[in-house]
């Protein structure tokens, strides 16, 4: 076991533009122990980079998210962002998660496939009617998950321009002052609060109405603020990452023309293509949501002391050659597919089945309808966001 190396590296390693994974991760995986990193704000943290270490930290109850509230948590902006259920541990976390989780199980989500396929098909119809080049983000990648989550949750999709501003602000890492961030968050909460009031008066067949009914059944189970924040969380998490991954996946596929040709030749392979891309694409520029050890725990040959934070790099874990042979190659026929793209443990992405379905249907319709798809210009990348991806991606076909 190594003792704490006091050298602390500046983090994040990855550039915000593009989808490269910094070579520093490979070095960290191959060297003994773990490294310590410092984000722009908060205390230094251990950084887990190997698959097994990341899985341990995310899956072991001795690591707590709730404990971060009592510490100077590592973060990329000066202020703390509201964590919602991602800032909670079981059993509180389970109490809230279960209210939403049943709407997103594989069984429930699979029934939505024909409807999602229809939406994706209509969006491509509109692209073809408009003629290329078009911005894939604005005309396809964003409206697809927005329409789906709005319908499921019960938010009017035509409010997209309003809530996109607030949603972007919530996921920004440093472009806003604390006051601006707080104002955006308050506006989104107020907007959602109004919708909740409307639904309470006139329930519909949507998740918001179901949550309102759950609170009416048992007011101790869900406070009014928790209800509003769950809806905010579902709306933001329910579209932002999928909308970002669709152009990311297309960008990677078009950078590997022989792989895109495989998908075009056999569109039915979309599910395995999506799994490999979920592994391959390092979505985050860095890491956030540190886990605090509640007792001494050995991770990767280091004794993490109680009260110390650990950050995990999912992108690095997904490129760990000990788990995935030839990790930096894009291969659709892998036998080992248990990537950590949706995380792991109690905070494993609640919407993973829905995200999978949307990504599969998105790639499927593009491969079938636009086999000549190509980038008409270099993508313009978002910066200063928790997730990396094109802000604008002009494509033609």
């Amino acid at each position: 076991m190594t003792t704490a190396d006091e050298r602390v590296e500046t983090y994040p390693f990855n550039k915000p533009e593009g989808l490269e994974l910094s070579p520093r991760y490979r070095e960290a995986r191959e060297a003994p122990g773990m490294i310590k990193v410092r984000l722009p704000f908060g205390e230094p943290a251990w950084l887990a980079t190997r698959y097994e270490d990341v899985r341990l930290v995310l899956g072991d109850r001795r690591f707590s998210r709730a404990a971060a509230a009592a510490h100077d948590e590592p973060r990329s902006q000066p202020y703390r962002r509201p964590g919602g259920i991602l800032a909670m541990d079981p059993p509180d976390h389970t109490r809230l998660r279960v209210l939403v989780a049943s709407a997103f199980t594989v069984r429930r989500v699979e029934k939505l496939r024909p409807w999602v396929r229809e939406i994706a098909g209509r969006l491509v119809d509109d692209m073809v009617a408009a003629g290329g080049p078009v911005d894939l983000v604005d005309s396809f990648a964003l409206p697809l998950p927005v329409q789906v989550i709005c319908e499921l949750l019960g938010v009017p999709a035509e409010d997209r321009d309003r809530f996109r501003v607030w949603s972007d602000a919530l996921l920004s890492t440093s472009s806003l002052t604390e006051q601006e961030f707080g104002q955006n968050h308050a506006e989104l909460r107020a907007y959602m609060g109004e919708l909740v009031e409307q639904r309470r008066a006139e329930p519909r067949d949507d998740l918001m109405s179901a949550l309102i009914a759950a609170r009416a059944d048992n007011v101790d189970r869900l406070t009014e603020l928790e209800l509003v924040d769950l809806c905010v969380g579902v709306l933001v998490a329910g579209h932002e990452t999928t909308a970002t991954q669709i152009p990311n996946f297309v960008h990677v596929l078009l950078s590997h023309p022989e792989r895109f040709a495989e998908l075009v030749a056999e569109p039915a392979r979309a599910p395995e293509v999506v799994e490999e891309l979920l592994r391959f694409v390092p979505l985050g520029a860095g890491a956030a949501f540190s886990r605090y050890a509640t007792e001494d725990v050995e991770v990767g040959g280091v004794l993490v002391r109680a009260g110390e934070p650990v950050l995990v790099s999912v992108g690095s874990a997904n490129h760990d050659g000990d788990r995935f042979p030839d990790p930096d190659e894009l291969k659709f026929d892998r036998t080992e597919t248990s990537h950590l793209g949706f995380g792991h443990g109690v905070h494993h992405c609640l919407g993973a089945p829905l995200a999978r379905l949307e990504l599969q249907e998105a790639l499927l319709v593009l491969a079938v309808r636009l086999p000549g798809l190509r980038e008409a210009a270099e993508p313009e990348w978002k910066t200063q966001m928790l997730v990396r991806g094109p802000r604008r991606m002009m494509v033609d076909w």
């Binding site: 899985r55 995310l58 899956g59 072991d60 109850r61 079981p90 059993p91 976390h93 389970t94 109490r95 998660r97 279960v98 989780a101 049943s102 997103f104 199980t105 594989v106 069984r107 429930r108 248990s338 949706f342 792991h344 443990g345 109690v346 905070h347 494993h348 992405c349 609640l350 993973a352 089945p353």
Partner: protein
Amino acid sequence: MSWTIAVDGKACLGSGMCAGARPDVFALDGAHARVLADPVEPDEGLLDVADSCPAAAIVVTGADGTELAPRD
């Protein structure tokens, strides 16, 4: 009046949700979760965990054979 807990290994995605929430009942040491404690005493929290499984792979059965969770 104990309950039976089962994990469908074919459906399990290995998310670790169950083992993280209730390490006394579930473990994830391989690709799929396994049940450590079965049968168990009736426990509302286990129904919640079964409902939360993204793969709906956890089935809780009551003493009389009725399926208690996942609840649709």
